[in-house]
């Protein structure tokens, strides 16, 4: 017979797990959404970006309207969207009645809804199911994009007037019209390379710049206007690949199934059993046009580029961790505003260095050397990765020059911080804890 005291740790563990699950449920029950939902209030526009959670129908128009009446009114009020709908397949589908306003928005004007993926799934179940299946790959993925945004410390912390910018792109998880713009909802539009550029552009993910600089992109620009984009995304239909052609194989609504390098955000072993499967998926795509050996060589080149980028990033990250151990940061974590969402920050202030410590939120209220590392990791590194993935060698070179420059600049700053480590240290709190925006940020989230 086993001693009864062995049950104590088991019971405590079970109680801890139950308490943890209850806490997560409780934390998601606030006015906002996500893990920090109790920490923030949504702006009115949040309803347009995450309609399932936040959209409120307008109360000023009363009545239950059939499609013909919706169209009659909106032809005068918002003729552009009615014209778009008339141009769409929804207005004249084969073998069924038109899909009109009430089918997606409801008929009762005081109970109108903004369509969510669940609404579109009533007819487009195959696409919706594929989209939902992305959850198995975790983040980065389209389907988890909104959760990723709202579970970020900086999203919960910053004024919502500011983070509205974030959810415009992260709403790819919560509405289908990010890619299929309303009210035409044209698959041909989403097949075009430009369709992705509203979100896949800018310093951390210059997909547009790197693709259009590649041989694929240059050929696309030359041929796009004379190409028939109504054809399915399968081998033989197109002479040049676009974002959707490569990342959504055969038009499948899954972009994360070939994600080997995880967006370039963290160092990975590209040859794990799982990644070997993903590599074969890439080879299958590339060999639509290229021979197999060439395709494998491109992937190996990417491995080398990533390895080189991470050598520099790891050296710099080690240096910053050393500075943290030496208490050389100025200001240190306890001398600048903590995230209001994180009580641990208040009790045990700690500079966040690296992906796993949540450096993605460390781009404000940090010392310049930490921001420089953020930009090295998030801008120069991801820019190089995108250039490498999209086949833009000039931009790979540019990216690695930026990485080398950042590494040297950070090393120089680190040397200066060390030189001053034993010097008098004026209290930096007044400079970092005050100021109009800093105070507003502390009080509004």
């Amino acid at each position: 017979m086993r001693p009864r005291w062995l049950l104590i740790p088991v019971l405590l563990s079970l109680a801890g797990i139950a308490a943890g699950m209850a806490w997560v449920d409780w934390s998601k029950g606030g006015a906002g959404s996500g893990l920090y939902s109790r920490e923030w209030q949504p702006d009115p526009v949040q309803g347009y970006w995450d309609p399932d959670r936040f959209y409120q129908p307008v109360a000023s128009v009363e009545g239950v309207f059939p499609a013909a009446e919706c169209i009659a009114c909106h032809e005068a009020l918002t003729p552009g969207i009615v014209a778009d709908w008339r141009d769409s397949r929804h207005s004249r589908p084969a073998n069924r009645a038109p899909v009109a306003c009430p089918d997606c928005h409801g008929a009762d004007h005081r109970q109108l809804r903004m369509p969510t993926p669940k609404v579109c799934a009533e007819c487009h179940a195959v696409q919706h199911d594929a989209f939902q299946s992305e959850k198995q790959y975790g983040f980065p993925s389209h389907v988890l994009a909104m959760e990723r945004a709202t579970d970020s410390k900086h999203f919960a912390d910053k004024p919502k007037a500011e983070t509205t910018a974030c959810v415009q792109c992260h709403s790819v998880a919560t509405k289908c019209d990010s890619c299929h713009t309303r009210h035409r909802f044209d698959a041909a539009e989403a097949r075009r390379a430009e369709a992705c550029t509203t979100c896949h552009s800018g310093p951390p993910h210059p997909d547009d710049e790197t693709y259009f600089a590649s041989a694929h992109g240059k050929r696309y620009l030359a041929e796009a206007q004379k190409t028939d984009w109504s054809k399915p995304l399968v081998k033989g239909n197109y002479t040049v690949p676009t974002c959707a052609y490569c990342h959504m194989r055969n038009g499948q609504h899954v972009v994360a199934d070939k994600s080997i390098w995880q967006f370039g955000l963290r160092q990975v072993n590209p040859n794990t059993a799982e990644n070997k499967v993903k590599r074969e998926r890439w080879i299958e795509v590339c060999t639509d046009c290229h021979d197999e050996e060439f395709s494998r060589r491109q992937l190996t080149e990417m491995d080398r580029e990533r390895e080189l980028a991470w050598q520099g990033l790891n050296r710099t990250e080690r240096l910053l961790r050393e500075l943290r151990s030496e208490r050389a940061f100025y200001p240190a974590a306890g001398e600048r505003p903590p995230y209001p969402t994180d009580w641990m920050d208040t009790w045990f202030p700690k500079e966040r260095i690296g992906f796993f410590e949540g450096q993605a939120s460390s781009f404000y209220n940090v010392s310049p050397i930490e921001r420089d590392y953020f930009e090295m990791w998030y801008f120069a590194n991801l820019g190089s990765y995108k250039a490498s993935a999209h086949g833009a060698p000039a931009l790979v070179k540019e990216g690695h020059e930026a990485l080398a420059h950042a590494e040297k600049s950070i090393a120089d700053q680190a040397a200066q911080l060390r030189d001053k480590a034993r010097a008098p240290r004026p209290d930096p709190k007044a400079l970092w804890l005050g100021g109009e925006y800093t105070t507003h940020n502390r009080e509004h989230n």
Binding site: V45, E189, P424
Partner: protein, 198 residues
């Protein structure tokens, strides 16, 4: 003054003939539009008879088919511009949607202005207590914050480009602001070392 501007316009118009907006407004103004959903649709559907999404003249020259600077003036006005451009928005978007999007843009810009004012207060302090290379660096950082980061935010909000609103706008403002603080703080530290050394 007003007559002089009209005269200038009459002289300038022939020179502008045949030019597109982008010939003069390349860079952030054009790119913030091109990356927006409006810009994406307009680029994809270039050449189609029915314009589904607005290009430059779609919002900035509402009542005129030919370039009409008085209309540009109205829609580009910082005080009246958003309201004036709403005439174009209403072809596709509901009054509530445009009102809420405009209000959100105003709130976003107010945040950017707060960051600028916080930086400006630091610049005033720096002018009082610093000089030489440190002050020059702070002056340069402030100029970047005001003339690039804040401009990008404004363009991102006006043209509905998330990238210009966030990475090139708000997050860039954060970077410039913390670097001003960092430079000012290091200058104080260096002075404290010098004083201590004496």
């Amino acid at each position: 003054m007003r007559h002089a501007l009209w005269l200038l316009l009459l002289v300038a118009l022939p020179a502008l003939a045949g030019k597109t907006c982008i010939d003069c407004h390349a860079g952030a103004a054009e790119r913030s539009w091109a990356l927006s959903k409006h810009g994406v649709i307009a680029r994809i559907e270039a050449g189609r008879e029915r314009r589904r999404a607005p290009d430059c003249t779609g919002c900035h020259a509402l009542e005129a088919k030919a370039p009409a600077p008085n209309h540009y003036g109205r829609t580009l006005s910082r005080t009246q511009g958003r309201e004036a451009a709403r005439e174009s928005c209403r072809a596709c978007h509901s009054p509530r949607y445009t009102t809420e999007q405009n209000a959100a843009a105003a709130r976003g810009l107010a945040i950017g202005e707060m960051k600028r004012r916080e930086a400006e207060a630091l610049l005033v302090t720096a002018r009082e207590e610093s000089s030489g290379a440190e002050l020059a660096r702070i002056e340069k950082l402030f100029a970047t914050l005001r003339d690039e980061d804040l401009r990008h935010l404004r363009l991102g909000l006006a043209h509905q480009s998330p990238d210009y609103q966030w990475w090139l706008g708000q997050a860039a403002l954060d970077g410039s602001l913390l670097r001003i603080k960092g430079t000012l703080g290091e200058a104080r530290r260096t002075r404290a070392m010098t004083t201590d050394g004496k």
